[in-house]
C-alpha cells in the first residue's frame, strides 16, 4: 500500500514536469524540450546556448512562457491544496474557500480598483492584485468572525451558511458597481474569468513563496484533518482542539486562494476536483492527498492554460472555462473507470 503510493507520487511528479514542458514548448512558436533545457541552462548556469536556438525563442521561453506556466502551476497548486483543506474540515465535498467568499471579495476589490482607476504609490501594477487579496481575505475573516459570534462552537453549517450570505451580499455590491459603471463591465468580466497572460517573474516569486509556505504549514495538520473527517466530536475526544485547528486552517487556505485569485482571477473547478481525484487514487489519508492534489492541480492548470491560449489562437479562451470544460469529463472518467474494481 505504502510502496504503491510512493511510486504513484513519482508518477505524479513526472507528469508535472511533462505538463510544464508541454506548456512551455507549445504555442505559435514550437520549442522542443531539449531547447528548453538549453535555454534554462543558459539562464541559470550561463551555459552556452544550443546552436539552433534563436534569440527570439530565448525571450519567448524565458520572459513569457516560463513565468506564465510557473504561475499557472503555482496558482493551480495553491487552489487545490486549499480546496482539499476546506472539503475536509467543513466535511462537505462541495466546499472551497470560494464558498467562504474569497472570490467574491477579491472580485469586489478588483472592481473597485478598475472602476476608480487608481494605483497606489509603491504598489504600482500590483495595486489590483493587492486590493483583490485584501478584499478576499477580509471577506473570509468577516465570515469567520460573524460565524463564531453566532455559534461559539463554530459548527460547519454555520460557517457555510454565513459564507453563502456574505458571498451573495458582496456579489450584490459588485453587481451594483458594474451597473453604475457599465463601461468597465468588459474589463471586469475578463478579470473574473481568469487568465495567466502577462504574468511576470515577480508574480511567480510572490506566488512561489506563498504557495510553499502555505502548503508546508497545512501539511502540519494532516493528521488532525484525518481525524476531523470522523466528525469534530470524535476528533476532540482524541485530543484535537478542533476550533483552533479549524480557524488556522481556514485562514491559511484562504490566504493561498486569495493569493492565487488576485493574480489570475477566479479560476474555478480545479479546487473542487483535484482533491476528489487524488483521494480516488491515493486513498483518504491527508499526508498524501494534500501534497499530491497540489501537484495534480498545478499540472492540470498548466495544461488548461496551454489549451486556453492555443485552441483558438491567436484568440485566447478564459482559463476558467477550460478547466471546467476538460475537468468535468476527466472527473467523470476517473470515477467511472474505477467502478467495479472498488
Amino acid at each position: 500500500m505504502k510502496r504503491k503510493n510512493l511510486l504513484r507520487v513519482w508518477i505524479v511528479l513526472v507528469a508535472c514536469i511533462l505538463a510544464l514542458a508541454a506548456g512551455i514548448g507549445i504555442g505559435s512558436v514550437m520549442i522542443f524540450p531539449a531547447d528548453i533545457l538549453g535555454i534554462l541552462g543558459n539562464k541559470l548556469f550561463s551555459l552556452p546556448l544550443p546552436a539552433a536556438v534563436e534569440a527570439s525563442e530565448v525571450s519567448i521561453v524565458w520572459s513569457i512562457r516560463f513565468p506564465r506556466c510557473l504561475s499557472a502551476f503555482l496558482a493551480g497548486a495553491a487552489l487545490s491544496a486549499s480546496g482539499t483543506v476546506m472539503q475536509s474540515i467543513l466535511r462537505n465535498p462541495l466546499a472551497s474557500s470560494y464558498t467562504l467568499g474569497v472570490s467574491s471579495g477579491a472580485s469586489l476589490g478588483a472592481a473597485v480598483v478598475i472602476v476608480a482607476g487608481f494605483t497606489l504609490p509603491l504598489a504600482g501594477a500590483l495595486t489590483l492584485p493587492l486590493f483583490g487579496f485584501v478584499f478576499g481575505l477580509g471577506t473570509v475573516l468577516a465570515v469567520i468572525g460573524f460565524a463564531s459570534r453566532m455559534d461559539r462552537g463554530l459548527e460547519n453549517q454555520t460557517i457555510i451558511l454565513t459564507g453563502m450570505v456574505f458571498s451573495l451580499f458582496v456579489n450584490a455590491c459588485m453587481t451594483l458597481l458594474s451597473v453604475l459603471h457599465q463601461n468597465y463591465m468588459q474589463q471586469l468580466i475578463r478579470w473574473q474569468m481568469g487568465s495567466f497572460s502577462g504574468n511576470s517573474w515577480e508574480q511567480v516569486g510572490i506566488l512561489a513563496v506563498v504557495m510553499a509556505a502555505g502548503v508546508l504549514y497545512l501539511c502540519r495538520f494532516t493528521r488532525q484533518m484525518d481525524m476531523m473527517t470522523f466528525g469534530e466530536e470524535a476528533a476532540r475526544t482524541m485530543g484535537v482542539d478542533t476550533k483552533r485547528a479549524k480557524l488556522k486552517l481556514i485562514v491559511a487556505a484562504s490566504l493561498l486562494t486569495g493569493t492565487a485569485v488576485c493574480f489570475t482571477g477566479t479560476v474555478g473547478f480545479i479546487d473542487l476536483i483535484a482533491p476528489h481525484v487524488t483521494r480516488r487514487v491515493f486513498g483518504p489519508a491527508h499526508k498524501y492527498v494534500l501534497p499530491v492534489s497540489a501537484l495534480f492541480g498545478g499540472a492540470f492548470m498548466v495544461l488548461a492554460d496551454t489549451l486556453a491560449r492555443t485552441v483558438l489562437a491567436p484568440a485566447e479562451l478564459p482559463v476558467g472555462a477550460v478547466t471546467a470544460l476538460i475537468g468535468a469529463p476527466f472527473f467523470a472518467w476517473v470515477y467511472f473507470k474505477g467502478r467495479g474494481k472498488a
Binding site: F230, R236, V240, G283
Partner: protein, 267 residues
C-alpha cells in the same frame, strides 16, 4: 484510601439557555464501573459530554484529582476517552489507519512525524483486543455498524485513557457481541487505575458491567451507589412505569422458551 477518578460538585450544563444538568454532585473512585441510567432526555449523554470536555459547564469538576476547568484538550484526551454512538465514517480509511488516530496524543508532532513502532504495536494490540485481527486493511466505509463499533472500541483503547466513557455502546451490536463487549469492558475496568462510565438503556447489561449506579431524571440525581440501591421503587420512579411487572413478564416468556413450550401470549 483509593484515588478519585471523578469528582463533581454542583455541575450545571446545557444547550442554549436551558440547563439540562441541574446541579449534579457525586464522586467516583478509581477502579469503579459506573452505569448511568435514566429516561430519555434526562441528561445522561449531556453528563458524558461534560466529562469529555465537549460541552461547557458550571460548577466544580475534577478528573483524576485535577481541576478540569482550563484543562487543555490534549491533556484531557490522555486521561479520558469516549466511545460514542454517533461517530460515523465518511472516508475510506483502513481499520489500522483509523485505530492509529487514537494514538494522536501519544505521537510526536511535526510535518514529517508519524506513528512510531510503539504506536503501531499498541494499535495492533487494540485491534486484536476488539476481535478485528486480520481486518487491518479493510476500509471502514465497507464495515457494518457492529464492525465499525468494534473499530471505535479499538481506537478508544489505543488512546490509553484512564477513564473510558461509553455512550450507548451496544446500540449497533447483536446480543452476543453486546455481552462480549460488556465483559471486555468489565475486565478492562478491573485493571488498576482504570474507570468506566457507561450510559446504558438495558438494565441487564448495566448489571453485567457495573458495580456502581447513577440514576438521573430531569437533570437531577435520583440515586447513586452500589447494587444495594437498586429497588423496584427506584426503577419505577426513574422510568415512570412498573418495571418489575415488565421484567417478570419477560422472565416468564423466557421461562416458556427455555422449557420448550409454545408461547402462551403473543409477543
Amino acid at each position: 484510601m483509593s484515588n478519585k477518578a471523578l469528582e463533581l460538585d454542583g455541575v450545571f450544563a446545557g444547550y442554549g439557555e436551558n440547563p439540562v444538568l441541574k446541579g449534579i454532585s457525586f464522586s467516583l473512585e478509581e477502579g469503579r464501573r459506573l452505569a448511568v441510567l435514566g429516561p430519555n432526555g434526562s441528561g445522561k449523554t449531556t453528563l458524558l459530554r461534560v466529562l469529555d470536555g465537549l460541552l461547557d459547564w458550571r460548577g466544580k469538576l475534577k478528573i483524576l484529582g485535577k481541576d478540569a476547568s482550563g484543562m487543555k484538550r490534549e491533556e484531557l484526551a490522555k486521561s479520558v476517552a469516549m466511545m460514542s454512538q454517533f461517530s460515523g465514517a465518511s472516508l475510506p480509511y483502513t481499520v489500522e489507519e483509523t485505530v492509529l488516530m487514537g494514538r494522536y496524543v501519544h505521537m510526536p508532532r511535526g510535518i514529517f512525524a508519524g506513528p512510531g513502532e510503539k504506536d503501531r504495536r499498541a494499535a495492533r494490540e487494540c485491534i486484536r483486543a476488539a476481535g478485528l485481527s486480520g481486518w487491518e486493511n479493510r476500509r471502514v466505509t465497507e464495515l457494518s455498524g457492529g464492525q465499525l463499533q468494534r473499530v471505535f472500541l479499538a481506537r478508544t483503547l489505543a488512546q490509553e485513557p484512564s477513564v473510558i466513557l461509553l455512550d450507548e455502546p451496544t446500540s449497533h451490536l447483536d446480543l452476543k457481541y453486546q455481552t462480549e463487549l460488556m465483559d471486555y469492558l468489565k475486565n478492562w475496568g478491573q485493571q488498576p487505575g482504570h474507570t468506566v462510565v457507561g450510559v446504558l438503556h438495558d438494565i441487564n447489561l448495566a448489571l453485567r458491567l457495573a458495580d456502581t449506579f447513577l440514576f438521573i431524571k430531569e437533570g437531577k440525581i435520583l440515586a447513586f451507589g452500589g447494587k444495594e440501591i437498586l429497588t423496584p421503587h427506584l426503577l419505577d420512579e426513574t422510568y415512570g412505569m412498573d418495571v418489575a411487572a415488565y421484567m417478570r413478564e419477560a422472565a416468564d416468556r423466557m421461562e416458556e422458551i427455555i422449557n420448550g413450550k409454545h408461547l402462551s401470549k403473543p409477543l
